[in-house]
């Protein structure tokens, strides 16, 4: 009798794919925040607020 708690290989593969997608999205978010910060800082350096 198979273990009812054991995840189906297809389900495990799909879950892994979703996790990679989530990790990629989080990484992309970090990169975007970094880029926005640098871009805003650069603009302030070029034209300092009075």
């Amino acid at each position: 009798m198979s273990d009812p708690n054991l995840e189906d290989p297809a389900a495990a593969r799909a879950r892994r794919g979703r996790n990679y997608l989530l990790a990629g999205a989080l990484l992309a978010f970090v990169i975007v925040v970094f880029i926005v910060t640098i871009a805003k800082l650069a603009a302030n350096v070029a034209q300092p607020p009075v």
Partner: protein, 324 residues
């Protein structure tokens, strides 16, 4: 074996990352991104390229979020239509609640990032667009009135305005002219499609114009909207937005739209098929001769793409005769 045992023995479909990507309606998203990018470039406002990319990303993610919310709330009618029944939610691969959560998260993320990184005007218009599509169109208009895509088309028309606002923080007349073109383009485009899949809409109880008013009235409406669309498409050439290349594209494209609309007007596209088997005939059975509707649907896509591509090219830095 009992029914219950059979049900339990069938493994549930597994959602992969492609299903979550499909929730974002990537094809719709690509058109949204293209028109928004055109608006952003046409604003002629100096903008850090990285921030411009972030603005486009926000618009893309916002469109995706709205698409996911739409799929979550439309799952019941999507399951009844051939065109949409294999989508992740009606297909049983993604729960409606999960699609809704994804859509809301992405929508909030996109609006928040647009507000923080770009400007509050663009964020406000992005939020309005998402709410209009996800709530006003999906929950209210789509199931209640044959004017659903006329009014709801505003959501699909606003991306150039959001792009323009992202670049300049303003929404001048030319930005609204781009909105108006997509707004008037939407009804003939979707009604042409609905002429050859009206049976599906009828089954799902969606009151599309061919279902409620019939195919002849729909063909007349498509013609009327095309008559308005053609001169409206030319208008940017006289407001300083489009140049000579745009004018040529708009005149040729507008003439094509009107020609195809006239052909459709005098066709029988969408009419009940008298040759159908007894019992199968009815208001929602359509003739096989649907080419005029299909041609107009396909050409309208090309027409809109050509108009915005012409504007985009004319406003790119370094293009001879361009605005930069």
């Amino acid at each position: 074996m009992t029914d219950q045992a059979v049900t339990m023995a069938i493994p549930l479909p597994v959602a992969g990352w492609r299903d979550y990507l499909a929730l974002l309606k990537p094809r719709v998203m690509s058109l949204v991104v293209f028109t928004a990018l055109t608006g952003l470039v046409c604003a002629r406002a100096p903008m850090n390229p990285a921030l411009a990319a972030v603005a486009v990303l926000c618009i893309a993610v916002g469109a995706g979020g709205a698409g996911a919310i739409n799929m979550a709330w439309d799952a019941d009618i999507d399951a009844l239509m051939r065109r949409t029944r294999s989508r992740p939610v009606p297909g049983g691969r993604v729960r409606a609640g999960d699609a809704l959560a994804l859509g809301m998260t992405l929508s909030l993320f996109s609006v928040g990032l647009m507000g923080v990184a770009i400007n509050p005007v663009a964020a406000a218009w992005l939020a309005f667009t998402i709410v209009f599509y996800a709530i006003v169109y999906t929950l209210w208009l789509k199931r209640r009135t044959p004017q659903n895509i006329v009014i709801g088309g505003l959501a699909g028309a606003l991306p150039p305005l959001v792009g323009w606002a992202a670049a300049s923080g303003a929404t001048p007349l030319n930005a609204w002219l781009m909105v108006a073109i997509i707004f008037v383009w939407t009804p003939p485009h979707f009604w042409a499609l609905s002429l050859y899949i009206s049976g599906d809409y009828a089954k799902a109880g969606v009151p599309m114009l061919p279902v409620v008013k019939g195919p002849a009235a729909t063909r007349r409406q498509i013609f009327a909207y095309s008559l308005v669309l053609a001169p409206l498409g030319v208008a940017p050439a006289f407001t300083g937005l489009g140049g000579r290349a745009y004018l040529a594209v708009a005149i040729l494209g507008g003439a094509g739209m009107i020609a195809l609309a006239i052909r459709l007007l005098f066709s029988v596209a969408g009419d009940p098929d008298p040759a159908a088997a007894p019992g199968a005939t009815g208001l929602y059975d359509v003739r096989l001769d649907l080419k005029p509707a299909r041609d107009l649907f396909a050409f309208s896509l090309l027409y809109l793409f050509a108009l915005f591509a012409a504007l985009l090219v004319e406003h790119l830095p370094g293009v001879p005769g361009g605005a930069w």
